[in-house]
């Protein structure tokens, strides 16, 4: 019998669980959480560790959400090609995309980069042997930045563009004072997507930049392992679940926090049908999206703004006014938790629905209807999630609230529906990570993959089935019925 300790240092709370591994099976022995000690992370970490494992003998795996992840500026050439892939690579490495830039970097964009102070500049563009001029131009523009960032830590440049000019670009940027890491091209050939090398470079920068300072390096020295970015831990678990438990099927995982709403989907990009043409680069089989304007606390105000139309419709004009007042109160007290059953509790539900609504609709692919000489045809952008049958909820709010389900929240409104068709699940069973264990199990995937995945499946609580009345797609395309 082995005991394992997993700890996640979040932006608000440091949480941990002590697991017991016997006969290849993991079970939770104890759970603990404390407020994150932002100035010295090791204090909160030690408190949780001390509570769960006073003798400090259990091996430790840990993650850190460190300021919501590394701030990454993604620079590509064409918005739908290398820029889109760069953004996706940054997100799938657990980063936070603070800005995106296509074509040539102008002065305004350089100003923006100076103001945003990203940790990483992910520079992409051009296939191998492809475009050089835009990429060289952008490298030269970036080389002007260090002169304007004197006295502050310079971002690390990760170059993941046209391989033919990588030495030139690296040399120019190093001469300008940047630290430059080289990754393989994100798109070595047209529409061939290879994010792994860039992801690995981002992870290494994470370790170098995040671990130093704030006490994380002391934790590393003591426990002998390095932290994962929290979102990467969740992504690793998602990928492992996808690969190791095929019977689980396609699924969506919503990890909703105070600051962001992250959506992970596991499933093939396309469901090829007659008269459907896939456009643009293919979404990865396991895809992560992060919505920085959708969250339950720190981002509640922005979310209320983003989702204004949805919330007004859901609450009615009169209650929407009271809701806005609640948002103002939350802004000054983000830790506030309403009592079950009162009006503020209902407002939190509406807000959660609104965040899920927008996060899922942004994540899912769409069909755009076009009429051709041969009749109706659809252009597909992104992933077709209609066949997904499981939706998992995790994160502080979703884990805690037993009688909340995303249900109808993921349906597009009539207005959103008029132009395009959203490829969302037609019906699904909702599962709740009621112990909020998924990020902690994600930490264990590296060394204890099989038991961690099995435990993740076991810890999901089935909360019931939802059948969405997705309006019939009136065409030859839809051959499956929406009735369940």
């Amino acid at each position: 019998m082995t005991r394992l300790l997993s700890i996640d240092i979040g932006s608000t709370y440091t949480k941990g669980a002590l697991f017991q591994l016997s006969d290849g099976e993991l079970s939770v022995v104890a759970y603990a959480k404390t407020a994150t000690t932002t100035s010295h992370l090791k204090e909160g970490f030690d408190q949780v560790r001390g509570t769960l494992d006073p003798d400090r003998t259990a091996p430790v795996a840990f993650s850190s959400s460190a300021r919501g992840g590394l701030a990454i500026a993604a620079i590509g050439l064409v918005p739908d090609l290398t820029l889109k892939i760069a953004k996706q690579a940054a997100l799938s490495a657990g980063g936070k995309v603070v800005s995106v830039h296509a074509y040539k970097l102008g002065k305004d964009q350089r100003d923006e980069l100076v103001a945003l102070k990203p940790d990483i500049l992910l520079l992409a563009g051009g296939t191998d042997g492809g475009n050089e001029s835009f990429v060289r131009f952008n490298a030269t523009q970036l080389a002007k930045l260090p002169a304007r960032m004197v006295g502050q830590e310079l971002p690390t440049v990760i170059y993941a563009g046209n391989a033919i000019i990588r030495e030139d670009v690296a040399e120019e940027l190093r001469a300008a004072g940047f630290e430059v890491a080289i990754a393989s091209n994100l798109m070595p050939q047209m529409e061939q997507v290879e994010p792994d090398s860039a992801r690995e470079q981002i992870r290494e920068v994470f370790l170098r930049k995040i671990v130093h300072g704030k006490g994380l390096d002391e934790i590393v020295a003591e426990v002998g392992s390095e932290p994962l970015p929290t979102p990467l831990a969740v992504l690793n678990l998602t990928e492992a679940l996808r690969n190791d438990v095929p019977a689980f099927g396609d699924f969506i995982l919503i990890d909703m926090g105070g600051a962001t709403t992250d959506v992970y989907s596991a499933g093939e990009t396309i469901e090829q049908e007659l008269r459907v043409m896939l456009r643009g680069v293919r979404d990865p089989e396991v895809k992560r999206s992060v919505e920085g304007d959708l969250g339950m606390r720190v981002s509640a105000g922005v979310a209320a703004h983003t989702a204004q139309a949805y919330l007004r419709q859901a609450l009615g004009a009169e209650r929407h006014v009271a809701f806005e007042a609640y948002m103002t109160r939350l802004a000054s007290a983000p830790e506030y938790l309403p009592q079950a059953g009162n009006e503020e509790d209902a407002f939190d539900r509406a807000l959660a629905s609104a965040c899920i609504h927008h996060a899922i609709l942004r994540h899912a692919g769409t069909w755009k209807r076009v009429f051709t000489a041969a009749g109706e045809t659809f252009l597909q952008y992104g992933k077709d999630l209609r066949q997904v049958r499981k939706v998992i909820g995790s994160g502080g709010y979703l884990s805690a609230i037993a009688d909340f389900t995303p249900a109808e929240a993921i349906l597009p409104t009539d207005a959103q529906r008029s132009e395009i068709i959203h490829l969302i699940p037609e019906r699904f069973t909702y599962y709740r990570d009621n112990g909020y264990l998924l990020p902690l199990l994600g930490n264990l995937v590296g060394n204890w993959r099989k038991p961690a995945v099995a435990c993740a499946v076991a810890c999901l609580r089935e909360e019931g089935e939802t059948c969405l009345r997705v309006p019939e797609i009136t065409s030859t395309v839809s051959n499956q019925s929406n009735h369940c």
Partner: protein, 138 residues
């Protein structure tokens, strides 16, 4: 690179797929690095692909009779988006009604295409002309 990259595709909402496959084969055999975008390709996708791959030419096909409409403005869009020098060829069923081919050819050249081909084109010759046009632009 001695294997120039070219972008190939059938423009607009045209879904005739057979000729496109033949063109891909023939031009690959003639030493081009062909990026084939397939059928139903919007103007911007030709340009996107050409930008990223540093393509020397775009070969547009149109078979279903709406070629003129679909091709209008492509040259301008190329220039606008940073492809000042790219070679543009078009081919397929471009003639509408009883028009003479020379008349159709003139219309497409006016739109900015460097060469215009009918359905019965000798593809060997077309590949040779493409090579010449690319060399002339270099």
């Amino acid at each position: 690179m001695d294997q120039p990259t070219i972008i190939l595709g059938v423009i607009g909402s045209d879904c005739h797929a057979v000729g496109n496959k033949i063109l891909e084969k023939v031009f690959t055999l003639h030493g081009f690095n062909v990026v084939n975008l397939g059928v139903m390709v919007p103007q911007d996708e030709f340009i996107d692909a050409a930008l990223e791959t540093n393509a020397k030419a775009i070969l547009v096909s149109s078979l279903y009779g709406q070629g003129e409409l679909d091709c209008e403005g492509l040259r301008g869009r190329c220039i606008e988006r940073g492809l000042e020098n790219i070679v543009l060829h078009v081919g397929g069923n471009l003639v509408i009604g009883k028009q003479a081919f020379t008349e159709t050819e003139a219309r497409f050249k006016e739109m900015g295409f460097d060469r215009v081909y009918g359905p019965d084109t000798n593809l060997e010759k077309a590949a040779e002309e493409l090579r010449q046009d690319i060399a002339a632009r270099a």
